[in-house]
């Protein structure tokens, strides 16, 4: 049996889940209000959108990162980074914000939250987390998780994740998400008590379904292909971009050497000295300008990376569909075979092979009473089966409907975001060109005064 049907109302209600006989998490309704979520993409800037599901506007920011040491599960000393999450509620009238909650979380807790969301909202394209380890690095970038630049970019990525969840029409109402933002201690236990890990579909089952499903909805098959392509092309792009960045860095930095040599040379030149010296200064400026330029580009790369990871989220939804569809197909097949068995028993013909049929042949016919009993059992099973098939069918259609709605939402978001990212890339290039023109114009002037 799979999990409860997708329940957009599963938020802020007691015991929203129907776990398999487990104690279940009793999630009390939050004391009092529901709060509003907003679509935000930078801390502090909130915009009212059509998706205000929380009564009050909130601003979420991941404002700090801190290195900590502690003891892990096996009591070993470890170093990790903790991130400060601040939630502010904004009064409607005057736009002032009041800090309502502030707590520290580490990356693994974000992961826990996301895994929970994946299990309970399988029809949703769940926003991805920033990468666990630095990938697509070029030589100057560190692959070290403790590196301050990496930590900073991760901080931004985590904030982005929270904002995406908070602005999702369904996810934003989740109780566990709310507690993530508000309840520092005990949150992990609370999540684990939901028993969501048990509910998660096994990888193996999902893989099996993928191969054996006969009639998945075509749109999901196409979506899967799309997500594979998206992942492949963005990976490729990021790899090459990293190499290009590396080379560009080289070009700029080597010019810096001119600065020192010109300066030394200018010492022996009477007329040329001043021109050389100041030209050398401009070469230094040129060389150091690349640092900021590439820093900006790194943010662009992060925007693309988010969609690289989104590809996996898309695939997860497709897998869920395949699993449900396969389940449905199996149940239907099972029902059909039972019906057939029943028919055979009733009419006495044996058209299909069955163990009972064989043993009957070998050991003699069964008594009419026995046969009756068996038919009765089968009929009960068939009844049950028909009920289940009906509900599975319903579930399946609900899933497809909800999933597809979210996918459409996602597509629009993706198109907007990627277009914006690409345009911002163009803007970065423009800025780089302008800086280049300025530096070289200055240098040229110095040279011509030599």
């Amino acid at each position: 049996m799979e999990q409860a049907p997708p329940d957009p109302e599963r938020q802020l209600k007691p015991a929203p889940l129907e776990p398999l006989g487990g104690p279940g998490a009793v999630l009390e309704a939050a004391a009092g209000e529901e709060t509003e979520g907003t679509r935000e993409d930078s801390s502090g800037v909130d915009t009212m959108t059509g998706n205000d599901f929380w009564l009050k506007k909130i601003e979420i920011s991941v404002s700090e990162a801190e290195k900590r040491t502690g003891r892990n599960a096996v009591n070993m000393q470890e170093t990790y980074t903790a991130y400060l999450i601040e939630t502010r509620s904004v009064e409607h009238a005057d736009g002032q914000s009041v800090l309502t909650d502030s707590l520290w979380r580490r990356y693994s807790e974000f992961e826990l939250l996301r895994n929970y969301l994946l299990v309970y909202y399988p029809h949703v394209v769940v926003p991805p987390l920033p990468e666990k380890r630095a990938e697509f690095v070029w030589h100057k970038l560190s692959a070290d998780n403790m590196d301050p630049d990496f930590v900073e970019r991760r901080r931004i990525g985590l904030e982005n994740f929270l904002l995406r969840v908070a602005s999702h029409p369904v996810l934003c109402r989740d109780k566990i998400f709310y507690l993530f933002l508000t309840q520092e201690g005990n949150w992990k236990e609370t999540v684990n008590e939901t028993g969501f890990q048990l509910k998660a579909d096994s990888r193996l089952k999902a893989l099996n379904a993928t191969f054996r499903v006969k009639n998945p909805d075509k749109r999901f098959t196409e979506l899967k292909h799309y997500s594979d392509e998206l992942q492949s092309v963005i990976s490729h792009l990021l790899r090459v971009r990293a190499r290009v960045a590396d080379r560009l860095y080289g070009v700029y930095k080597v010019h810096g050497n001119y600065g020192r040599v010109f300066s030394e040379w200018s010492a022996i030149e009477k007329e040329m000295g001043d021109g050389l010296q100041s030209a050398g200064h401009h070469m230094d400026v040129y060389a150091s300008s690349i640092d900021d330029i590439l820093e900006d580009e790194e943010h662009y790369a992060d925007q693309l990376k988010e969609y690289l990871f989104y590809a996996e989220a898309l695939r997860a939804v497709c897998r869920k569909h395949e699993l449900m569809q396969y389940d449905l197909e199996t149940a239907a097949q099972d029902l059909a075979s039972k019906k057939q068995q029943c028919e055979e028993l009733a009419t006495g013909t044996v058209r299909t092979f069955s163990l009972k049929g064989m043993t009957t042949k070998l050991f003699g016919q069964e008594t009419p009473e026995q046969r009756e009993a068996r038919i009765k059992v089968l009929e009960e099973q068939i009844n049950e089966g028909e009920q289940q098939l009906k509900s599975k069918n319903l579930e399946g259609r609900e899933f497809v409907k909800n999933a597809w709605a979210d996918i459409e939402r996602f597509k629009e978001q993706k198109n907007r975001d990627l277009k914006e990212a690409l345009i911002s890339y163009a803007i970065m290039q423009i800025s780089m060109c302008k800086k280049g023109i300025q530096v070289w114009t200055n240098a040229k002037e110095c040279f011509s005064k030599m």
Binding site: T47, L230, V244, L422, A426
Partner: protein
């Protein structure tokens, strides 16, 4: 480096040859009266050089067409950019490298075309083929004749690193350009331009040149000179006048710096090339992506096109660097080695004098003979010093102008590169942001 200087055959010079062929300048028994003020004032050498390089581009190296005006006078008119009276009367081009294979060796010859209106030339136009060895010979002769003049440098005999095949196209082209420069610098030099060996080099057909070459001092005597030169340079110079101390110190520092600049410039070229190689792959990925994104097709294709255009601009920038900056800087690297040689030769001449003077204090017996020799040597030293001083000023002026141009041109190339890229990206941005409002994102990151 191949211009290995043979010892100044100064004693031999004084005997026979006039150091410069052609019109003898009145006054002055020997070689000292070269540097007369009016010779220097004639042309601003910088204009000559710039004019010449423009000339080179006019006369397309690879397709020398007989239809081009051949009279030197019309060529003067063609290239006259300055208002000053252009007194150039010797035009030289180096082109059309050809490979020659014999049983013993393979070598390249270059065609040298000379056009002149000078009386001392038998004709107004000459075409000969010379190989690198011939250039080496010429350089050696010039150094012998003018030990303290700054002879232009020759390109290196071998490129040390990265060259598998001696005769690859880039190498040949670079060398050709450098040889062209070499001859033109000689032509522009107020003294060297009248050198007899130079004239023979430009005009004699191959067999004549061979026999002419054989007339020079024999190998053994040259070896003797080398030994003497090395010996005297090791002794060092005691009384180098201040101005030459300054010169020497300048040369040392300059040499260091120009070498560094050479390395840096070559490195920049390499980095730009690597950048270009990566960029070539970058644009097409966006096209690939556009195949799976209906709504982003225009944007992605636009970006791909911008990247490709910037790629082309990068290529141009690289070419600019390799034409405007690298050869000039490299020539001055070679010049700086040259200069050190010139300093040594000057020092040697002085040492000769000094040792004779010293000898005089000890060997009273040959006092008269020595005194006479000393007299000659004093003249010689004075000539050498004056020649060097004047040529030094000229050289420094040229150096400043050449390097200033080269760097200014490079800066200009870079400006142009960025301007091109800017235009590309700006037009892309305009096309994207002119779209109808609903395309605009509400969420500005």
């Amino acid at each position: 480096m191949d211009g290995e200087r043979l010892a100044s055959g100064s004693s031999e010079l004084a005997v026979g040859e006039s150091p410069r062929g052609g019109a003898p300048i009145p006054g002055g028994s020997g070689s000292c009266s070269l540097m007369q003020a009016d010779v220097l004032d004639l042309d601003e050498d910088e204009d000559d050089l710039e004019v010449f390089s423009k000339d080179a581009s006019l006369m397309d190296m690879n397709s020398f067409s007989p239809m081009m005006p051949t009279s030197p006078l019309s060529m003067i008119n063609q290239i006259k950019f300055e208002d000053e009276p252009d007194l150039k009367d010797l035009f030289i081009t180096v082109d059309a490298p050809e490979s020659h294979v014999t049983t013993i060796e393979t070598f390249i010859t270059y065609r040298i075309i000379t056009k002149t209106s000078r009386g001392e030339f038998d004709s107004s136009e000459f075409e000969v083929r010379r190989r690198y060895q011939d250039f080496l010979w010429l350089k050696g002769k010039l150094e012998d004749a003018h030990p303290t003049l700054i002879i232009p440098p020759l390109p290196e005999k071998f490129i040390v690193k990265g060259m598998v095949e001696r005769f690859n196209d880039d190498f040949i082209e670079t060398r050709r350009k450098a040889l062209h420069k070499f001859l033109n610098r000689i032509a522009d030099h107020p003294t060297l331009t009248f050198n007899e060996d130079f004239k023979v080099f430009l005009t004699a057909q191959a067999p004549e040149l061979s026999s002419y070459k054989k007339q020079g001092p024999g190998l053994l005597s040259r070896m003797g000179q080398t030994v003497r030169a090395v010996a005297s340079s090791m002794r060092g110079v005691k009384n180098r006048p201040d101005e030459f101390m300054e010169m020497n110190s300048f040369i040392e520092t300059f040499s260091q710096k120009i070498n560094l600049i050479d390395k840096i410039s070559q490195r920049i070229y390499k980095e730009e090339r690597d950048y270009f190689d990566e960029m070539k792959e970058y644009g097409p990925i966006h096209i690939l992506w556009s195949a799976s994104e209906e709504d982003l097709v225009d944007t992605l294709k636009g970006i791909a096109s911008c990247i490709d255009q910037c790629c082309k601009a990068t290529e141009k920038r690289m070419t600019g660097l390799s034409e405007a900056l690298l050869p000039v800087v490299h020539e001055y690297v070679l010049y700086s080695e040259m200069l050190m040689g010139v300093m040594k030769r000057r020092d040697q001449i002085q040492t000769e004098l000094d040792s004779k003077v010293e000898a005089l204090t000890y060997k009273k017996a040959d006092a008269d003979l020595l005194t006479e020799e000393i007299g000659k040597l004093e003249d010689k030293v004075e000539c050498a010093n004056n020649a060097l001083k004047a040529d030094w000023e000229r050289w420094k002026q040229n150096m400043q102008n050449d390097l200033k141009s080269a760097f200014t041109d490079t800066a200009e190339e870079n400006i142009r590169y960025y301007e091109q890229c800017l235009a590309t990206w700006e037009s892309f941005l305009t096309s994207q942001t002119d779209l109808p409002l609903e395309e605009d994102s509400e969420d500005k990151i």
